[in-house]
Amino acid sequence: MRAGKHNLRAQVRALTDHAATVLAVFATLVVVTPLVAIFIYLIYKGASSLNLAFFTQIPKPPGEVGGGMANAIVGSGVLLGIASLIGVPIGIGGGIFLAEFGRGTKLANAVRFTADVLNGVPSIVMGLAIYSLVVYQQKHFSAFSGGLALGIMMIPTITRTTEEMLLMVPHAVREAALGLGVPNWRSVLSITLKTASPGIITGCMLAFARVAGETAPLMFTAFGNSNWSMNPNEAIAALPLQIYVYAISPYDEWHRMAWAGALVLIVLIVLAVSLVRYVTSRGVLKGAS
């Protein structure tokens, strides 16, 4: 009687265990499927339009066959470079302030609140804001203004991840540094920040990947350019802009180019993120957590 009861309970447990596993696998599939589907569809639609010219030539006028998006690829690189130069240091600096120096102060609460609000600002609004603050004042579109818009959009994500990652560094590690007579600022920069760096780098990469595909903030700032330009003070082409323009055009050839552009954009983002991960993971010692 007793044994039978135990047996039943064990069976119920085993069944629950199986059910939980099945649910977890199912949830994983639900998450991964759209990503894989989009990628396959992009390859299906875009891969046939990829050739050397796509990466080396600038766009041709409608009706002419050929041409490429070389200027947009480079332009996106320039924009993201400017954006990272602005967003990464300010974002990390803000996170350090929130976690280490301003903890519990009113200013820190204000900064945290502002970062959260900034994170929720629609990207088109960001574009308009930079348009009126920079482009309108300067009377011309520029790569700099586009990079600025993207850079500001990177800040809140980086600030909040930096803060959270720094707070996860064990108190014991900070005490170890202070106990050695290391000044607090030095301990924050050389010990706490370094210990948290894998998470902070992930945050930067998330922010980077997010703004790399942004179109709206660039429409009134970088504007796009069908010629070569790497000058930060001039309008510059960008992959998302080019994809947008081509995708809403009436030409079949341009539609195919838009698909190819989207494929290239995704692959480049994945490559950039992987490269940063690879570079920053080198030199990590055996057994380091």
């Binding site: 014991a172 106990g179 290391v182």
Partner: protein, 252 residues
Amino acid sequence: MGVGIEVTNLNAWYGSNHTLQDINLNIPANHATALIGPSGCGKSTFVRCLNRMHETNPIARVTGSVRIGDLDIYTDAKPVEIRRRVGMVFQRPNPFPTMSIYDNVASGLTLNGFNNRRALDEIVEKSLKNSALWDEVKDDLKKKSGASLSGGQQQRLCIARALAVDPEVLLMDEPASALDPVSTSKIEDLIFQLKTQYTIVIVTHNMQQAARVAEKTGFFLNGRMVEFDSTHKIFTNPSDKRTEDYITGRFG
């Protein structure tokens, strides 16, 4: 060489909690002094007052005076200077996880701007030998992370790190409480060797440990120091009834 510590009317608070009350004692140079007492009696707070780590907590406060050698640590110097002269080993081993074994030992110097490679090599080797870890790690100094060592090795690494800055006093806050018996006995052997060169103050829950390593023992209870005497006297013939009760296991 170690120096003596003279504590006068030391009081400490965490917020409104008066954790140390009127502590007076003289800790002799180049000896090991053990502090025993039940959890929450203030012995950890006391050692944290000896290198001004107590005040790193924003709600903490201290009054009274602590002289280490000829220096009044609360009036004559900045906390960072004090902490270089008074090394500390914590309850849980806390090596810097991103640093190699070598960099961990050198960190107290490099983080304060000392960069002479050849001198560092010598100091690291000497410190690791002094902490009885050298033979176990000498081939992996720069290859392995400090966090990859076993718990006992990590604690000896932390001792080496504290010794590398050449302190006069070494504070140990329950240094063996997170370790297995073999590692514990290695740490105790180490304390035996180190006390010839440094003044050691060790907080411990383990009364046998206090009896084994320390010449002097202080008994703390409810934020006060009940009795301070030679270890032998404390464990065989304490003057205070409360000490006797604690030693014989009637409470705590």
